[in-house]
Subunit: 103 residues, 2 copies
């Protein structure tokens, strides 16, 4: 599924890390909030409040979760889980397009 | 109105100018396509195919249309028209959030 249907989308973007990460907030019919976004080539550390599931929809990235020693690669069509109140390092060499689902 | 309701949104972003401009495509219930996007601090030249109306929803920018000699400043809540098959220069010092309407 390449798009969300019957949703609301907030016009103003969420801009993080001087624009290395840009997303728009989407609200599903049942009130669930998600973000559709892109991470530009960079190496960043994100902190989580709620648990997140990051779903790749284009490009690829390397991820190292807090407390782990190994980087894992995720491409479009793959997802990774991030615990709440944690952090993860993410690195990409090309734009990484994602949907972020909040747990 | 800070959001669009009852729309479809394409999950993959549109990335231009190495990420200096990132947008997501929104499709209204009647099939009309728009993009919600952000231009990061930069000075860029965009070419248009169809005529466009750029509606500012956050931040501000300076714009010089092809064939004009004067820069004009547009803030959130203001819009400017761009003819089809033309171009415009846009410069911003802060993220400029916009909705692009195609004519």
């Amino acid at each position: 599924m390449s798009q969300y249907d019957n949703v609301s989308v907030v016009k103003q973007a969420n801009v993080y890390f001087d624009g290395k990460c840009v997303s728009h907030t989407v609200i599903l019919a049942d009130g669930t909030k998600k973000t559709v976004g892109v991470i530009l080539p960079s190496s960043l550390t994100f902190n989580t409040g709620a648990p997140e599931i990051m779903e790749g929809v284009g490009g690829s990235c390397r991820v190292k979760l807090k407390g782990e020693s190994e980087w894992k690669t995720y491409a479009a069509g793959q997802s990774f889980d991030v615990p709440g109140n944690s952090s993860f390092e993410i690195a990409c060499d090309e734009p990484y397009h994602y949907v972020c689902h909040f747990g």
